[in-house]
């Protein structure tokens, strides 16, 4: 499946947020979207998910414009994974995953036994088979994020859009969640995720799209796109990139800020 974003522009009232953004994503790719706060990443996601429809340009799924799709049709192709949140009500993990089946049947239909089996299988694939009966609202942030990923898989969509899936997670959970996401792209899912950590792009993405001032500033392999100059331009902070030669892949970089004030006692 191929997602094609063509000359996408969007304005809130008179403020232009996105200016002819174009890039594409195919199954098996993991594309990281990098850009400073307020650059229009969330707006871009909302356009892709058809939550905002008054954009110009086009978003095309395997040759079909998403404008012509109903909610149900779109949900079968693109799944959205929000940041892990606490819902108002106490649902079990299985209930939450099952909600991925909301677009599978008719308007008044309930999920069926096969949807339950499929949902349980998705939990199992993420190593959470024994959590099905737990209260979702009492899980840790990392576990919740995995449940939401399982829900997206239960949706049977081929393209996964994730809004900062590692935000608010501790270091270990960030690594675990990113590893699971990489596993998904290996299984053939096309993944588009936003992140604020350049190292995530180096370690896990197959491609990186850099968004600045509502435009695509750069699009390509992370080691080509994310230079010290680009990162300074993006975040206004000088950084040094250290190639991690000898560690798995020469494309890996560690990103360290320059000119930081180290406390006296640490020197």
């Amino acid at each position: 499946m191929k997602l094609d974003i063509q000359n996408l522009s969007f304005s809130y009232k008179s403020t232009e947020v996105l200016r002819s953004v174009s890039f594409s994503l195919v199954g098996g790719e993991l594309v990281c979207l990098l850009g400073p706060n307020g650059v229009g990443k969330s707006t871009l996601f909302k356009c892709i998910l058809s939550l905002l429809r008054s954009y110009s340009g086009d978003i095309v799924l395997d040759g079909v414009s998403t404008r012509s799709l109903t909610e149900r049709e779109l949900a079968r192709s693109i799944a959205y994974i929000p940041q892990a949140h606490g819902p108002v009500f106490h649902y079990s993990v299985l209930d939450v995953v099952l909600m991925g089946a909301a677009g599978n049947h008719g308007f008044f239909a309930l999920p069926r036994a096969e949807d339950e089996q499929y949902a349980l299988a998705q939990l199992e694939a993420l190593g959470m088979a024994d959590m099905a009966d737990r209260d979702y609202s009492l899980l840790s942030g990392g576990e919740r994020q995995l449940v939401l990923i399982a829900r997206a898989l239960a949706q049977r969509a081929q393209i996964l859009v994730m809004d900062e899936p590692t935000a608010n997670l501790d270091y270990g959970n960030q690594v675990r969640v990113m590893e699971h996401i990489t596993g998904l792209s290996r299984r053939g899912y096309g993944v588009l995720l936003s992140t604020h950590n350049p190292e995530h792009a180096f370690f896990w993405s197959s491609r990186t799209v850099v968004l600045l001032d509502g435009r695509v500033e750069a699009d390509g392999k992370s080691q080509d796109v994310l230079t010290e100059g680009t990162l300074e331009k993006l975040y206004g902070v000088r950084v040094k990139l250290f190639p991690l030669g000898g560690y798995a892949d020469t494309a890996y970089r560690a990103c360290v800020p320059l000119g930081i004030s180290v406390p006296e006692v640490a020197r």
Binding site: L51, V88, F89, M99, L110
Partner: protein
């Protein structure tokens, strides 16, 4: 069998059985003694085996014309208020919301008071009350669309505004009402009571409440998805606008129909859904039917108390508050309301 079906049966079969027994026992209770067996025979066997020319017993008249309309109304109103309370809570993503949020009760209450003020008679009062209840909800809905971006907040705020406007109008009506007969009638009606319910009232609300309940029952899985918020629900493939409108229409219909015949019966729509959550969890696939069965049983039980506790009837609205408020405080203390 799916996990859902198993759980559904294990939760609902015992509670429904309890409700049926309670219904029959309630029919047997009262000043004129009828045995529960006789009630069961009159309700479930006699209608299907008519004997031509057989004299109608006095028990049958008391049961079918006096007791049954009231008991059926109590069950319907209990189920209607509870299920709409649960639905509103899901829709507004707030477990402290009750069926009065959209100003429905205030509108229906004002309508009834107006009907009593102009001495319109029972049917006129019911119709005016029902009509004004719906019109108020509609007005609140339209007002909210013009207020702001956050649809939920706008709706709740508009509901509070219109509700307080209507209660001022109601106070004015009470001020100018004849204090010797009209004022007491309005006041008594506002306390909420099932004592004056006639066969005609029950037949009027029956299709409205049953229709609304069927719609809520069919939509229960959609309500689950709606509690995630509009954007997530849409990205999961739900037609959010249509679902919201249908849930609001069904819940408002049930509330307006209930209030129009019984007056203000408070707390049922808030307390019962919480009680149902304690029994069966938050999943609306169970919560909606559980709220219906438990709400019907609860109001039936409280109405039995209202009828039988003292020789002069206690308005049921007073009793539901006496039971509901302490129970709610207990829930808060136990931390069962998140």
């Amino acid at each position: 069998m799916s996990i859902y079906t198993k759980r559904f049966i294990s939760l609902l079969v015992p509670l429904t059985a309890f409700f049926v027994v309670l219904f029959i026992v309630s029919c047997a209770l009262g000043r004129y003694p009828i045995s529960p067996l006789e009630v069961a025979r009159l309700l479930f066997i006699a209608p299907f085996t008519p004997v031509a020319g057989a004299p109608v017993s006095q028990g049958a008249i008391v049961l079918l014309q006096v007791r049954l309309p009231r008991i059926a109304a109590a069950a319907l109103i209990g189920a209607g208020l509870s299920a709409s309370g649960a639905a509103y809570q899901g829709l507004f993503r707030n477990p402290l919301v009750s069926p009065d949020v959209l100003g429905v009760s205030a509108g229906a209450g004002f309508g009834a008071a107006l009907g009593i003020f102009f001495s319109l008679g029972a049917l006129g009062i019911t119709l005016l009350s029902f009509g004004l209840g719906l019109v108020t909800a509609l007005a609140v809905g339209l007002l909210a669309r013009r207020v702001g971006n956050d649809s939920t907040l706008a709706l709740v705020l508009s509901g509070i505004m219109v509700g307080s406007l209507l209660s001022s109008a109601l106070s004015f009506l009470k001020l100018v009402a004849d204090p010797s007969n009209v004022l007491p009638a309005i006041t008594y009606w506002l306390m909420g009571s099932l004592s004056s319910i006639k066969q005609g009232d029950t037949l009027f609300v029956l299709p409205l409440i049953v229709g609304a309940l069927v719609l809520l029952y069919l939509l229960r899985w959609r309500i689950n998805v709606l509690t995630l918020g509009d954007e997530e629900a849409r990205s999961l493939g739900t037609a959010v606008g249509l679902s919201r409108v249908l849930v609001i229409v069904a819940a408002t219909l049930a509330t307006a129909a209930s209030v129009s015949v019984s007056g203000m019966i408070g707390w049922v729509g808030l307390v019962i859904p919480h009680f149902a959550r304690m029994v069966g969890g938050s999943d609306y696939r169970y919560l909606i039917p559980l709220s219906m069965v438990m709400g019907a049983s609860y109001l039936l039980l409280v109405d039995d108390l209202a009828r039988l506790l003292t020789t002069a009837e206690i308005p049921i609205g007073i009793l539901t508050s006496f039971v509901g408020v302490p129970f709610f405080l207990y829930l808060i203390r136990r931390g069962r309301i998140a």
